[in-house]
Symmetry: C2
Subunit: 711 residues, 2 copies
């Protein structure tokens, strides 16, 4: 698989000639800083500067107009007052330049006036076929080309393996400074600004195509188009890992919702589901993102989660063991041959269990030989090595002995270095040798876990969601039409009556319970005779969402007298609780065999489309919070993951006195439901709660349903 | 409240004269390093050195024997081969020195021979009334006295506010080196080694009594005596905070258990419950421990959890908001006056919502004035200030402007500094001024949360657990005696029969259901008549723990024919499932009103005594994992916390169609149950599952019970 790069984006990744409009001779202006960076960075292409006043800048001629600039120019950089940008951009277009970075601020981020200006720029760009980066961005850096097209203080970061894409210019600036302090090399940096044109999804493929980049890191405040992001990122992660830090986790406001799913779903659930689908690794903070990026860039991937710890001190070994387990890794059992070999190398007091404790008398040679032993053991997938100031040896000497062993290994080895000045030399050796090192065992453990996560992702089946052909989407459309018209008329979401929802599920082959609507007690008794006793009675009213809460449900009704009484009681309760609700009557259903009960729900996320929820059903959904989400449509593998990651799903295999239930039918129901929501984005909320899962191979039945549509 | 210091420990905290036995003139020996540290550290008391060869060391006379040493000596330091330690220790005792640090290794940590040697030292110390630190420890440091009684490479850490107590010498060494790099001052450091005598609990009170120490940090691999630790730490935390890193979280092996509680309880649950009881703040890793310690040492405590964020960049502001919410804090709503004042100070494009965004053009004065405004707002409990490299200002200048404002505030202000070299000057200003600063917003947010946690702890009622007087412990002892004898005889835990368990609960006034034991179908029918239909039938067999799993339970049995049939079916099922079990018959109970069902369970932790569990009951306890633990005995406040922190407890207040249940009776049952387990440590496992909680003020009933005892 290879990724396709849009040729119109090429100038942002390998420009041949740059014109900078807004260069300044005043050292206090950003226009000076940017020009200086362009000149000093050793950019191999042509460089031209434009300032209406003309003159020279650091030995370079300044043209008074972009149209005067001679030679090859395929990228323009604009740093002029916002009001002047449209005019300049038009000239850029006339000059035949088809890529521009607008560094200037004063656009959408400052309000309506700026937004209008930004729209004007977009229109001009469209007319002249110019691709835009920004406005309100810091620009980009390519330490390999080299190119520094930012106004940040020099020096730029040194060349490395990690690309960084940022929706915040300030974060980019801080990360560059921090990376310098950490001596972390970077392969490409881009600040996206307001994303008037180019957005996060556009730059993934061009960056991954760059051989210098081994890992992409992303600082996201949102995505411009959720489905496009998932599509692009899914392509890229098959080739190279993406680690994303998404902020604004808790900022999303609450919407009015009418279902459990609606209450539990939210922007962050959608992002998690999207990242999971696309194989994007989500970091919780900046340090984590780069901790993980270094390990992904420099280490081979493990074949499993069994890890050995090599230490010369018990305390840090115990901490590392804790953190490995917390991250879902296991301590490997050393095989007998490994223990024998270690015995040859180490003093008798050394601990030959895992963690392997060399004791504080450890020599560089003992460290290296022990690591060699551990790496040979087939039961060990990776090694976490711990090094702290030793009484008799320098950490630097140990590092030098370890590096050749780590280099020749086909398993990941990460190093936890504890201390500060006494380990500084070792830090430098490891960094230079591209061995991932961390200040404390906890960070090293989480890096190993991410390597395992990445390895597991690459083994994930590359299946497309199966589309069921036996569904009747035409019938669903017909059922929906009148309600959609109503929704359009009233400009609000409309609750569908139960019959309509059941018919819709039926059209998608999700089993439902035959249900009759009784408008009178007599009709109820007749229907009950027809479906057979015992029956369940439920109030029929689109306005009453949680029926059992208000006494609108009677279970196990076993004779006609009770049905007649039940009808009256339910009507009474419903009217008491919802005096203004339209009550259509009472639904009569046959009681069906016991089984396990789960919930399948869905909402439409405005970014990512249909988001499907699965978990423990009933009325306590929000209390138990035993739920997982995935984006529709859903593959078989994904549906299985929903089951494996919830207690409701796990216990379908049987638990204690609960007999095994029909997992296969549950998975089918999830996939069909996801297809329905994907086909009909008009469903703003849809919930089957409970879906009763009968014993193995007996199928599932949607016991209660609710759905809302919006035009 | 003041803490009592054991006078025998005084020489470890303020020695007047030190004799070091094992001093060496060979610079490659630890005996030289330690002697050099003692001499160079400017210790104000007397210093004497002992080496059998005599001679001089760095200008100091070396005595050939400790008995020759003149003058005042109240602390001996031994660094001689393990085999020589007992002899030297005896001489130390004869010399009248009553405190000794044994730095030598080769004791319990190397096996049985070493353990015997250690026992010998303990016996000698007891005979001569010597208090021992170690063996196998690095010693101690007091940067204020000053004293460096370790063999670590100099210089020692600078004086500060944080004491560090470590059960690992290697961690102590690494932390000292790391603290130097962070410029973190420390007030006292002690390495506990093998804890032959002095353990972690002993040193808490003496350290907290030291005025220099504001915060105690602890590196724990375990505790020597759990109850003593809880007692001592509870005293200390009322005065000064303790932050503990406890490792070995996942290392504890699995024991054979016969109850849900047994399966879910474990060493870490017990540690968490103990830390919670004692007000000890548990850190997950070393960085966190010191991040939090700095904030606790330097900041006033907040009055609530409403925080304002002051930033000059949107991205880090959003990250900080996320992290505050993740840590249980809220973003404060700014009051109108605050917004008005900020308007006067800031440009119109600045964001005056929370986060307050000053924009990248922020000046030092704007930072300082905005912070002043925010601190005046009564709705704001603390401020998280973010600073990253600015295009026009140095971070150092902003720091200088902020520090006086932070100094005069009575609310906590923490600073997130993003970057590396460009913020270095600011870092140094903040550190010198004792303003807690962190490299990323996420760490700053967690520090604020810990300040809030500490403030809340100090508001926690200081109640002693109420002891119920209306319990009949004599009767419980009588019931238990035969089973305890049996347990002793067979050297294993014994399951109590249900009648005995019910009688025991009855003696502690925990309501149970009147239950009759039927040995025949006819007897069952007669009993059912007596208690009144409908009834519940359950197999009576101490060997069958999970009765419903094997078809050993029949519910809602409503006539004598069904009782007779039920008896046969249950007997049959039980024999099928457990052919070898002794089956006593079938229990007959009256069906009681519906209600909510919870679990109350308990186990004995070998360190901390009875550990009580509360949560969602039924058969799915381990699946739902909706449980919390507390140490027995339990206060009213603690019982309420158990309810507030579980879904099972929260929904007792009523949820949707669930009516409110009897919280008060539940709390009483928890407290009585805890008292029972505290009074009778012979109960190794005890479980009420379910405890049915009836509607408000209707009480609770233990529906099913199991208990095991061990002598």
């Amino acid at each position: 698989m290879t990724t396709q790069i849009d040729p119109s984006l090429q100038p942002f990744f390998n420009p041949k000639g740059i014109a900078f409009i807004g260069a300044s001779t005043n050292p206090n202006k950003l226009g000076y800083t940017l020009a200086r960076n362009l000149i000093r960075c050793n950019f191999p292409g042509e460089l031209h500067f434009v300032n209406p006043k003309g003159g020279t800048l650091l030995g370079h001629k300044m043209y008074t107009h972009i149209l005067e600039v001679p030679g090859l120019v395929d990228l323009a950089i604009l740093l002029v007052p916002a009001a002047n940008v449209p005019g300049v951009l038009r000239d850029v277009g006339r000059r035949g330049i088809s890529a521009a970075i607008i560094g200037s601020g004063g656009f959408r981020e400052v309000g309506q006036e700026g937004a209008d200006l930004e729209e004007e720029c977009i229109a001009i760009a469209r007319k002249y076929h110019i691709r835009l980066l920004g406005p309100n961005c810091i620009g980009l850096m390519d330490p390999y080309l080299p190119l520094d097209a930012t106004f940040l203080p020099p020096p730029p970061p040194r060349p490395g393996e990690v690309a960084f894409i940022s929706q915040s210019g300030n974060i980019l600036a801080a990360v560059i400074d921090w990376a310098r302090g950490q001596d972390l090399g970077l392969s490409y940096l881009i600040s996206l600004g307001n994303q008037a044109d180019i957005c996060e999804s556009d730059v993934l493929a061009p960056i991954v195509a760059d051989d210098h980049t081994q890992v992409l890191t992303l600082y996201l405040e949102g995505v411009k188009d959720g489905r496009k992001f998932v599509h692009e990122a899914s392509q890229v992660t098959r080739l190279k890992p993406i680690v994303a830090l998404k902020v604004g986790r808790f900022a999303s406001g609450q919407r009015a919702v009418a279902s459990h799913t609606g209450a539990l779903a939210g922007r962050e659930r959608a992002f998690n589901a999207a990242f999971w689908r696309a194989g994007v690794i989500r970091a919780d903070n900046t340090e984590e993102m780069f901790d993980w990026a270094r390990a992904l860039a420099w280490s081979p991937l493990p074949h499993g989660r069994s890890i050995a710890i090599l230490t010369s001190a018990g305390g840090p070994g115990a901490t590392a063991a804790d953190e490995l387990e917390r991250n879902g890794m296991q301590l490997a059992d050393l095989n007998a041959a490994t223990v024998d070999s270690l015995k040859q190398i180490l003093p008798s007091a050394a601990s030959l269990n895992n963690p392997v404790d060399l004791l504080a008398t450890a020599t560089p040679q003992q460290y290296a030989d022990s690591l060699t032993c551990l790496l040979k053991d087939e039961g060990i997938d990776g090694v976490l090595t711990i090094l702290q100031p030793l009484p008799m040896q320098t950490a630097g000497a140990v590092a030098k002995a370890l590096i050749p062993v780590i280099y020749s290994a086909d398993k990941p080895v990460v190093v936890a270095l504890m201390g500060d000045r006494l380990i500084q030399e070792a830090v430098e050796h490891f960094r230079a040798a591209h061995v991932p090192e961390y200040r404390f065992p906890e960070r090293a453990a989480s890096a190993l876990a991410v390597l395992a996560q990445r390895a597991e992702f690459l083994c994930r089946p590359e299946e497309d969601p199966q589309r069921y052909q036996d569904v009747d989407s035409k019938r669903v459309q017909e059922i929906l039409n009148p309600y959609l018209e109503q929704a359009k008329l009233f400009q609000q979401a409309i609750n569908l009556p139960t019959e309509a929802v059941l018919a819709i599920l039926d059209a998608y082959q999700i089993p439902t319970l035959p249900t009759g609507l009784a408008r009178s007690a007599a009709e109820a008794a007749a229907l009950a005779e027809k479906v057979g006793y015992p029956v369940v009675m439920k109030v029929a009213s689109p306005a009453i969402v949680h029926k059992s809460d208000i006494g609108g449900v009677a279970l196990n009704v076993s004779d006609s007298l009770s049905v007649v009484q039940g009808f009256e009681v339910i009507q009474h309760n419903a009217l008491q609780a919802h005096p203004d609700a339209e009550i259509l009557g009472v639904h009569i259903q046959k009681m069906i065999p016991e089984g396990q009960e789960v919930i399948i729900g869905g909402v439409q996320d405005e970014q990512f489309g249909a988001l499907v929820m699965f978990g423990s059903g009933g009325v306590e959904v929000e209390g138990l919070k035993d739920i997982e989400f995935a984006l529709a449509p859903i593959t078989d593998y994904e549906a299985q993951q929903l089951l494996d990651n919830t207690w409701a799903g796990k216990k379908l295999e049987g638990y204690r006195n609960l007999p095994p239930a029909d997992r296969t039918a549950t998975i089918q129901a999830i996939k069909r439901f996801a297809q329905l929501l994907d086909d009909f984005p008009q469903f703003v909320e849809f919930e089957i709660n409970p879906l009763r899962v009968l014993q193995a191979s007996q199928g599932v039945i949607a016991m209660d349903v609710r759905a809302r549509v919006m035009m």
